[in-house]
């Protein structure tokens, strides 16, 4: 048992590691300049300040967010790019230098040109300054040449022109063919990202400048409540339903229940939820019986009955919509496995001992037929979490699904990536618990006689 549990436990760090890679890749793919977005989110003034102050602020923030570090433990690149490119912190400048280096292939000369631009951006003449700042963000050849031609003569201009011509004349893209691998050690963004995750720091929401961890901490218990209730309903109803469907095999009850569960499995929950929300939570049809948003506020000093009825009126429809597809799925599964068990000789023995039908069903058959239910729990969890995105949106319940929807439509990247991570970890934990639980109740799994899934 211990060995089995440990082997299953090995999936946990592996899965979490992969998830952290996925969510880190998503942060890396974020469109736009993340440091600039964070500056806006933190309320740093970006317009109206002079360039030097802005650059200092940018540099400070970038180093606080580790954007001045290389991306990963190692960098795979080629001879045209140096191992120190990440030290250019401003994203648009780094992009420009990168494109120049890829086009001309000679890093020392590209660096020379970049240095000349950096010098010129603080030049005495206004025109040189403006042009240099423009050139720092553009790499197109005709654009650069036009801008350089239009410059007034001077010390900076000559330096710029010679550096540029030097770079163009020595264009040699063969250096792109020479591979280079640099080892960065633990001073990299992914490592720092993992350390921050371990600290519980998930970044700051662009939408309202609150820590993402705090937003998730508010939303998570609500989603867990919703899904927990749905799971409870599923198992409380599906077990007797499935068992009796098999017990009364081919009776009218069985036929009706089979047909209904087939229908329920095909009815999309979000459509049913929309219909229910439209009919019963709005005054459009005179059937405004349920509140249309939130989990309900329980007034202070209310009795338990009042509190319960307030909560129930808010949660009845969402829990129903979340539960019924899984209910159909689980009860059909249980019916099938019970039918197999009912054919076994031990059922006949139990009958011959004089036990009644329902005694046999609940004491003997149920225990054997219910093993797969434990694993189904693991499979249901991702479905429930995904389903609650729509259900929460339709019934206006501010949980993790609603948070994901709002973050995705508002392009609030830190929240989106954090939610992918949290949802994944929840699912992995669910799968792990289901596997271990299965092995605990069914010794055949431990001995490797049956595959758990």
């Amino acid at each position: 048992m211990l060995a089995y549990g440990l082997r299953k436990l090995l999936y946990l760090p592996l899965g979490v590691l992969l998830l952290s890679l996925v969510s880190f890749a998503l942060t890396w793919l974020t469109p736009g300049d993340p440091v600039q977005q964070r500056m806006v989110a933190e309320g740093v003034r970006t317009s109206g300040v002079d360039l030097k102050t802005y650059e200092r602020e940018y540099r400070l923030l970038a180093s606080r967010l580790d954007y001045d570090l290389p991306l990963f433990y190692f960098t795979v690149t080629h001879a045209a790019l140096p191992d120190t490119l990440h030290r250019i912190v401003q994203a648009d400048r780094r992009q420009t230098v990168r494109r120049l280096a890829l086009r001309h292939g000679d890093w020392p000369r590209v660096q020379q040109y970049y240095r000349a631009l950096l010098g010129a951006r603080l030049a005495e003449e206004e025109a040189v300054q403006v042009t240099a700042r423009r050139l720092l963000t553009r790499a197109e050849r005709p654009y650069i040449e036009r801008q350089l031609r239009g410059l007034p003569d001077g010390e900076n201009t000559t330096e710029l022109r010679t550096a540029y011509q030097d770079m163009v004349r020595h264009t040699d893209r063969s250096s792109l063919l020479w591979p280079r691998i640099y080892w960065n050690g633990t001073e990299n963004r992914y490592h720092r990202y993992l350390l921050r995750l371990a600290d519980g720091d998930l970044g700051i929401s662009y939408a309202d400048r609150r820590p993402v961890a705090q937003k998730i901490a508010v939303a998570l218990p609500r989603t867990v409540l919703l899904n927990g209730l749905a799971l409870l309903v599923v198992y409380l109803l599906a077990i007797p339903l499935g068992l009796y469907m098999a017990h009364y095999h081919r009776s009218r009850f069985d036929r009706w229940a089979t047909g209904l569960t087939f229908l329920a499995f095909g009815l999309p929950a979000f459509w049913v939820a929309t219909l229910l929300a439209n009919f019963f939570t709005t005054p459009a049809y005179g059937m405004n019986w349920f509140p249309s948003m939130g989990f309900g506020e329980v007034p202070l000093g209310a009795g338990w009955w009042e509190a319960l009825s307030i909560r129930a009126s808010h949660l009845l429809l969402p829990v129903f919509c979340l539960a019924y597809p899984s209910l159909a799925y689980v009860s059909r599964h249980l019916r099938a496995s019970t039918l197999v068990e009912l054919e076994r000789p031990y059922v006949k023995t139990a009958r011959m001992k004089g036990m009644t039908g329902s005694q046999v069903l609940w004491r003997h058959v149920f225990r054997n037929a219910a093993f797969p239910l434990v694993t189904l729990l693991g499979g249901l969890l991702p479905g429930l979490l995904a389903g609650s995105v729509l259900i929460e949106q339709i019934f206006n319940l501010p949980g993790m699904g609603q948070l994901l929807y709002e973050a995705a439509t508002a392009r609030d990247w830190p929240v989106v990536t954090a939610l992918v991570l949290v949802n994944g970890v929840l699912t992995i934990l669910g799968l792990l618990l289901a596997d271990i639980g299965y092995a605990l109740v069914d010794p055949r799994v431990r001995l490797g006689k049956l595959p758990p899934r």
């Binding site: 899965g15 095909g266 995705a408 799968l431």
Partner: protein, 377 residues
């Protein structure tokens, strides 16, 4: 079987509607006579004018639903009930209109086209990914494919080195996606065979490298499966699609397809694990049939039938995923009318029941048809 029959009929009808969508709903006549010449406006472009409603035609045969799905009609208040006449008495809004006066029936027809496209397209991608992985994992298992240790080691090392080179240099050098794929596969082929040749040569000196070892394909595929399953699909789908700058149906199809490879692979793997133990495979092997021929000519044809059924079921889940995404308005272009987007509109106006009932009904029937295909086998 009676149960399966209606499902096949319904799905075939859906396919026909998707193929003939332009003839069923559109604001161009099927045939029109204009200034003594015959026009087929559905096939022609811009003759004599884009807007056929304003052209004085001698006679014309209009489609049964004479509206375009995205054509708005602001001359009347929106949310017309079903069976109300259109503004210019061109026809009847059979199933009503939405807030902007767009015809619901035409929207449903356009939704059929989207649903069929997304369902078939994404399942095709899932099959492309899932079939090879599942087949190889199930048929060979961990020990079915024996290689000398040296070759295995050399091939893996070659692939890693080639992969690093592709990431580092080729990605920067290539000018387009096709160019990149061509160069990358050439480089990988070269490094892989180079690694194998190198370790073959080394194997002459070191006997340890010559001993055969099983390629743990099954273990790798199962690991990949378990890791993919551990991410809730819709959550990842929403996250990935929210990163795409210009939303398009192609990206939706691609994402749903790539994330949907697991059921195909899992099912085919289980099926082939059963088939490879059957006596006729052993008999063929004794008869001298090679392993690859055994897989493709003997084992796979017997496994493909059940896989087709799983694929039919997955068409349903893909259509459902697309409907959910367009209901949320993520990934699917805003101007594209789909079942999900019509359903979403009903939330703004609960009393417009026709916006909620009809698309949901079509979606449910489609899902039930796909599910019952699996039942009949």
């Amino acid at each position: 079987m009676k149960n399966g029959f209606w499902a096949y009929g319904y799905l075939a009808a859906l396919l026909v509607v998707a193929l003939l969508a332009d003839f069923i709903a559109g604001d161009k006549p099927l045939v029109a006579s204009h200034q003594d010449s015959l026009h087929f406006p559905v096939f022609e472009r811009s003759l004599p004018s884009e807007d056929w409603a304003t052209v004085a035609v001698d006679w014309a045969i209009w489609p049964p639903i004479p509206f375009r799905a995205s054509a708005t009609d602001l001359s009347q208040p929106g949310y017309l009930r079903p069976l109300s006449p259109a503004a210019d008495h061109r026809g009847i809004h059979w199933l009503g209109t939405d807030r902007l006066g767009r015809d619901t029936a035409a929207g449903l027809v356009s939704g059929v086209r989207v649903a069929v496209g997304v369902g078939l397209g994404s399942v095709l991608i899932s099959l492309l990914l899932g079939l090879p992985l599942g087949a190889v994992a199930g048929f060979f298992g961990d020990h079915g494919w024996q290689l000398p240790r040296g070759r295995l080691l050399g091939g893996v090392i070659g692939l890693v080195v080639g992969g690093l080179y592709v990431v580092g240099s080729i990605a920067a050098l290539s000018t387009g996606v096709f160019h990149f794929l061509l160069l990358a596969s050439l480089v990988l082929l070269a490094t892989c065979s180079g690694g194998i040749l190198l370790f073959d040569a080394l194997g002459r000196a070191i006997p340890w490298l010559r001993r055969p070892a099983g390629v743990p394909i099954d273990r790798l595929v199962v690991l990949l499966l378990e890791l993919t399953v551990s991410i809730p699909g819709l959550v990842l789908l929403i996250a990935v699609l929210s990163y795409v700058d210009r939303s398009s149906l192609g990206v939706v199809v691609l994402t749903i397809g790539v994330l949907g490879w697991t059921p195909v692979a899992r099912f085919l793997r289980a099926e082939l694990m059963r088939i490879r133990e059957l006596p006729y495979i052993a008999a063929a092997r004794v008869g001298g049939v090679g392993e690859l021929r055994l897989l493709f000519r003997h084992a796979l044809p017997n496994a493909i039938g059940p896989v087709v059924v799983v694929a039919a079921f997955m068409v349903g889940t893909s259509i459902l995923a697309e409907a959910m995404l367009s209901f949320l308005g993520i990934g699917v272009p805003a101007e594209q009318v789909t079942w999900g987007s019509i359903l979403q509109q009903s939330r703004a106006k609960p009393s417009a029941w026709w916006l909620a009932v009809f698309p949901g009904l079509l979606l449910t029937l489609t899902l039930l048809a796909c599910n019952s295909l699996r039942q009949t086998r």
